[in-house]
Symmetry: C2
Subunit: 351 residues, 2 copies
């Protein structure tokens, strides 16, 4: 145990895409846990698109990170010192420990992990927040029926890859949208999607729409929305009557909602969207996963089973060292990751 | 029984607002009903906003009316000649008889009416299609809970006036939006709304938003959407977390979806809407009432009871003669009606 720790703080509010100078790596003394607290040493830090929202000073479902404050984030760590009855040194735990090498925690919303049941890092991906997001969105708001067609964007990401694989388990036709031929090939060959369309190869929403349409001969019953942007504009007009759109994210617009509305000369306006919702009797449902943590037991049971049987696969991209987190996050927002983006903050003793 | 009948046909597809010359009144011989058919003499014709959609040659939930073809519409009539076992001359019936003085019907989707139970014209309004639209939208997709706040647009229209009165019966705070001081006064004084905002007096969506906001101190839980336009732009940002938006119409945009997007200089774009849906976890549900006719028994039981007890009131605007239908319809699209818009095609013997 060293005497100093590292953390990444928000140095400036980004204008559009975050830059490395919007973050700052700081050192400080490792704090001593008080009564009812424990000290956790971070092993894995999770990077997720929602963190971009926390960097802006605007109303959202959670408070923004203040300038000079540590960046928010889920992590996996090992308990070093504990003044809590339920946690002991050597326990592996997951919680919102933030972008730092060591964290003081009161144990609230912290889960213990069994490294024999699943690799520790999966608590941040397929068996964690992205996984339950996929599970709840598809089941509770997508309401899938065998034989229907599901389109999922960011198809090889932490959420999308599970959405699509669950879709196949539920006997849906699954069409992914991903950035680049390598990801598309992986979605089909490894994840078992029926097709995957490369949005980078499509010049505009209307070209992308034609390609998705030809992969969805019976139209689209469920569009799992986690990107917005060109993909959203491409898919909405393909929705079948009584289609469902669970909305959990819109990464294409995180770096500036006013920009990137459309790459075409006639961006989709609200009246056109509204008309499609009405005429096709669509259900749209925005959801934030922390409203639905009561679904953890069902989710864990089903998805852990699929992982054990090999029906569900997952992929990780690992950045080395806390200092690499800002650049890895900037790349994530551009789709530079392949699968779940993690930062290795200290070695995982169970690997 | 005369030998000739009148009908109104679509003369031309409107560009934007319909003009009188987009319609044509024609005379023709009264047809003779064949085997399995009956002849119905129209008493009341219903005028409804959805008819504007049928005049366009674009994909919707129903086929467009062709040029030279009779305009589509619900009506109440009296059976004159019947070759159907279930219908006899003198029966009062309601069905999609169209804009004409006489109709041949096969009896499918035709309901018999008891003039002693309720005035015949209510089968086209508060106890008919607009009524069940209000009932299903508010109950099934609005999911009201006592103490919540409901905003309803077109507050004194055939749908909106019932939505608001049912809202009061369910112990909601009900705020209407209507065009002009007379309608607003009626909504509060006669229909019992808590408040009603005059959208004509508000210069733009943001002014209207401030007025609605001050009438909704606890935010908006349910926005019953039947107009789109400025009202929609005003209300969406006021939605509470877990708010519900049943969408049954968008009359503000019927005369041209590309126009009338906003009266402000920064129209609401899809990304902003999408973000609100996500952050506030909203449910949006487009619905077309013919998917929900299984709810007729529940609806009729509840609303007929409210009418009998005086809890629900309704208002009618009557245009005299089939030849007045086009102008009355043009006015309806501009909000010129006050309550349910009917055309008196022939005298109602039960009035």
């Amino acid at each position: 145990m060293t005497d100093t720790m590292q953390r990444v703080v928000l140095a400036a509010r980004p204008q559009g895409e975050p830059k490395p100078t919007d973050f700052r790596l700081e050192s400080c003394p490792i704090p001593t846990p008080g009564k009812g607290e424990m000290l956790v040493k971070t092993i894995w830090l999770s990077l997720d698109p929602y963190m971009r929202g926390r960097m802006d000073d605007s109303k959202s479902y959670a408070n923004p990170v203040q300038i000079g404050e540590r960046m928010e984030g889920g992590a996996v760590g090992e308990v070093v010192v504990s003044n809590l009855p339920d946690f002991s040194p050597g326990d592996y735990v997951t919680g919102q420990f933030g972008w730092q090498s060591h964290a003081i925690s009161d144990g609230v919303m912290v889960r213990k992990l069994d490294p024999k049941a699943a690799p520790l890092s999966t608590a941040l991906g397929v068996l964690g927040m992205p996984g339950i997001t996929a599970y709840v969105g598809l089941n509770d708001f997508g309401r899938p029926k065998a034989g229907e067609t599901l389109v999922v964007a960011a198809a090889t990401g932490a959420v999308g890859s599970l959405v699509g694989q669950l879709g196949k388990a539920y006997e849906l036709r699954v069409v992914g949208v991903a950035g680049g031929p390598e990801k598309c090939k992986y979605a089909v060959d490894e994840l078992g999607f029926d097709a995957c369309i490369d949005h980078r190869a499509a010049a505009d929403a209307s070209t992308l729409r034609k390609q998705i349409a030809s992969a969805c001969p019976k139209g689209v019953d469920i569009y799992f929305e986690n990107v917005g942007g060109k993909t959203m504009e491409a898919v909405i007009p393909l929705m079948n009557v009584h289609g469902r759109i669970p909305i959990c994210g819109m990464i294409a617009w995180y770096n500036g909602p006013e920009k990137n509305v459309s790459d075409s000369h006639a961006p989709m306006m609200v009246p056109k969207l509204w008309r499609t919702i009405l005429v096709n009797r669509l259900s749209l449902r925005g959801f934030i996963i922390f409203d639905h943590f009561d679904r953890y037991p069902d989710f864990t049971k089903e998805v852990a089973g699929h992982i054990a049987s090999g029906k569900v696969k997952y992929k990780e991209t690992i950045a080395e060292g806390l200092e690499s987190a800002p650049q890895a996050f900037i790349e994530l927002l551009k789709g530079g990751n392949f699968g779940k983006q993690l930062v290795s903050v200290s070695p995982d003793p169970t690997r």
